[in-house]
Amino acid sequence: MNNVLLLIKANITNTLGLNRFLKEPSKSERTKMIFIGLAILLTIVVVFSSTLAYFLMVADVLVQLNALPLLLVVSFINVSLVSLFMSIYKASGYLFSFKDYDLLMSLPVKTSEVLISKLLQLYNANFLVSIIIGLPSLIVYGIKSSSEITYYIFALIAMFFIPLIPMIIGAAFSFVLGKVATRFKSTNIVMIIGTFVLIILLMVVPSFMNNISPEFIQDITGLIDTLSRAYFSITLYVNALVDIHILSFIGFVLVGMIPFVFFVTIFAKGFKSINSKMNERFKSSSYKMSSLAVSSPLKALYRKEISFYFSSYIYVVNTAIGVIMMTIFSVGIGIFGGEKVAEVLSIPMLSQLLVPTSIAVLSICICLTCTTASSVSLEGNKLWIIKSLPLKTIEVMKGKILVNLTIIIPALILNTMILAVSFKMTPVLYLLLLGITTLYAFLISLIGIIVNLYLPKLEWKSYMVVVKQSASVIISMLIGVILVAIPILIYIFIKPADFNLYSLFVILGLLITNLSLWTVIKTKGVKMFNKL
C-alpha cells in the first residue's frame, strides 16, 4: 500500500477509537460510547435537516427573483469560509509539534508524504463540517432546478474539492506563522497571538463588507462576475453545475488540486526544519540556586494549571475563542453602536432589547470558554503526580476552576464596562448584567469539570485530541448553550414587563444551579476523580 494511505489508515485507526470500542470489555463503557456516537449523529442530522429546511425557504424567494444559482454561490462561499476559518484555527495543531513527529520522521517515508498525510487529516476534520454546511443548498438547488443525475454526481464530487484551496491558504498562513515563531524564544506566545489576529481579521473583515442588495441579487451574472474576480474558482464551479459543463468541472477540480500540489512541493522542504525548531526547547543550563517563593497548596496548584494553560498553544486557541468573540462584540458596540453590530451579526436587536441581547451574546461566548472540560483528561499520564501527593481532591478541582475564571472574569469585567458605557446603563442594570454573566462563568467551569469526570480521556498522544475532539468538551459546551437558551426562551414566551425583576430571578436560578453543581463536585465528583 502507498505510504500516504498507510499513514492515513494509521491516523484514522488512532483517532476514531474503533479499536477501543471493539476491545472494550466493559458493557457500560461500550453503551456510553454508543450513546455518545448516537448523540453526535443526532446533532448532525438535526443541523443538516434544519439547514435543508432553511434553504428550501430561501430557494422559493430566489426562484421568484430568478436567481436560483445564487444557492450554489452561497454553498461555495459558506464551505470556503468555514474551511478557511477551521484551517487557520486547526492547521498548526495538525502540522506542527504533533506527538508522532519523531516516530514518523524516523520511518523510511518521504517528508512530503508525511505532510500530505497531515494535510489530509486536517482536510478530514474540515470535511464533515463542509458537508453539513454545503450539501443542503446543493440538494435544494438540484430539487428546485429539476436537475438530472449528472448534476448530483458533479455536485458531490465538487464538494470534495471546495475545501482544498481554503485549507491550503490556512495551512500556508500557519507555515508562515510557524516560520516567524521559530525565530522567537517564546514560540507559543507568537503562535497564539498570530492565530488570534488572523481569526479576528477573518471574523471582523467580512462582517463589515457591504451587504448584498436585492438589486444585486437580481443581477446574478453581475454578482458571480464580482465574486469571480476575487475568487476565480467560483465561475468554474457555477458553470460546471448550472450548465453541466464538463470542461468547467475539470477546470474547477484542477484549480483545487494545483495549489495543493504546489503547497506540498514548496513546504515539504521547510516542514522538517520548522518542526525541528518548534520541538526544540530553550535551554540555558546556567541556573544558579536563588531564593524560592513559598505558596499554599491551592496557589501552587493554580500556578501549575495556569502555566500549563499558557504553555499550550492548542489549549489557548481552542478555549479562549469565546472571550475573543465576546471582546469583538463589545468593542464593536463601543465603536459602531449597538444597531450597527446587530445589523452586521443579523441579530434582531431592537432598541429595547439591546441589554437582554447583549447579556445573551456574552453568556453564550462565556459558555464557549471552558478550560475545565478537558482539564481532568489533560492530566493524562501525569495524573500519578496529583494522585500521589497529599492533596485534597477538591483543591485540585478548585485549581482547575480558577483557571477558567481567570480567563473569563477579567475580560468579562472589561467587556461589561464597555457595554455599560455604550448603553448608558443604570448601576442596577450593570450589576444585573455582571451578575448573570459572572454566574454563567462559574456555571460553565463547574459543568466542564463534572462532564470531564464522567467522560475522561486520559490516554492520549496529543493535547489536540482532548482539547478539540473529546466528547467532554463538546457536551460541556452544548449543556452550557442550552442553559443560556432556557432563560432566553422563557423571556421570549412570558415577555416580562420588568426586565430587572426577571434578571433577578435568572440570577437566583443560576445561583441555585451553581450551588447544586458545586455540591455534586464535592461529593460524587471527588469520588469519581479518586477512581480515575
Binding site: P25, R281, K283, Y287, M289, L292, F308, K382, I385, L391
Partner: protein, 237 residues
C-alpha cells in the same frame, strides 16, 4: 512503616493483577520487590501510593490506612515511578518548588535541600530549563530530588535505577542507605537482581500477582545467588 494485608486487585475483565498479597516493611528496611514483567509489582506500588484503588485487603502506612487517611499517609511517603512523566511545561526548579509547596516544606529547608540534592545529582545548572528539554535520566533525577526534599518516612520506587547514569545510581544508593540509617523505610521494585542482592536487607518475589517468597535477603536466597533463586521460584520462564 508499611503493612500490606491481603491485598487483591483485579483489572476490568477479571484478571487478578495482585492476589492476596501481604507484606510488612519496617523502619530501616530497604525492601526489594522482584518479579517478571506483568507480575503485579507496579499495581502493588500504585495501590500503596494511593494512585490505584484496590478491591480487597488494606494498606497501612505508619499505622494509618491509605483508604481511610489518604492525605496523612501521602504526607509521610514519596513515590518515584519507573517512567517519570513530569509537568513538562514547568522548569525543573518550578517543579521542585511546586512539590515543596504541596508538602509545606519551609522556605529555608527547601532551599537547602534542593541545593544539596540537585548538586549531588549534578542537576543544579539545568533547574532553570523546561522539563520538556530534559533527557529521561534527568527527569528521573528530578523525580528523585522531588521525593527527597520533603524527607519522607517511606520511599516507594518503581525501577529506580533504569535510565540513571552509574554515578547517579551510586548517589541514589548512598541516599537510600542514609535514609534507612535515619529510620526511614524504602520499598522498591527492580529487575536488576545484583542491586537487590547487594542493597536490600529484605526481599519479596512476586509471580502472577502472588507472593512466592519473602524475608531477609540472606535467608531467602540461602547459598545460591538471587538470580538462581529467582529463576528457580519463577519456574525458569
Amino acid at each position: 512503616m508499611l503493612r500490606i494485608e491481603k491485598l487483591s486487585k483485579a483489572y476490568r475483565g477479571g484478571k487478578k493483577a495482585v492476589d492476596n498479597l501481604s507484606l510488612e516493611i519496617k523502619k530501616g528496611d530497604i525492601y526489594g520487590f522482584i518479579g517478571h514483567n506483568g507480575a503485579g509489582k507496579t499495581t502493588t506500588i500504585k495501590s500503596i501510593t494511593g494512585i490505584l484503588d484496590f478491591d480487597e485487603g488494606d494498606i497501612f502506612i505508619d499505622g494509618m490506612s491509605i483508604k481511610d487517611k489518604p492525605i496523612e499517609c501521602k504526607k509521610v511517603m514519596a513515590y518515584i515511578p519507573d517512567n517519570p512523566d513530569l509537568y513538562e511545561n514547568m522548569t525543573g526548579i518550578q517543579y521542585l518548588n511546586f512539590i515543596a509547596d504541596i508538602f509545606g516544606v519551609p522556605k529555608e529547608v527547601r532551599e537547602r535541600d534542593i541545593d544539596k540534592y540537585s548538586n549531588a545529582f549534578e542537576l543544579t545548572k539545568n533547574l532553570g530549563d523546561l522539563v520538556s528539554s530534559y533527557s529521561h535520566g534527568m527527569k528521573q533525577k528530578l523525580a528523585i530530588i522531588s521525593a527527597l526534599i520533603h524527607q519522607p518516612k517511606l520511599l516507594i520506587l518503581d525501577e529506580p535505577f533504569v535510565g540513571l547514569d552509574p554515578k547517579a545510581s551510586h548517589t541514589l544508593k548512598e541516599y537510600m542507605k542514609e535514609m534507612c540509617q535515619e529510620g526511614s523505610a524504602i520499598f522498591f521494585s527492580t529487575h536488576i537482581l545484583e542491586v537487590a542482592e547487594k542493597l536490600c536487607n529484605r526481599i519479596a518475589i512476586i509471580k502472577a500477582g502472588k507472593l512466592i517468597a519473602s524475608g531477609e535477603t540472606h535467608v531467602v536466597k540461602g547459598d545460591s545467588s538471587l538470580e538462581e533463586l529467582f529463576l528457580e521460584v519463577t519456574g525458569n520462564e
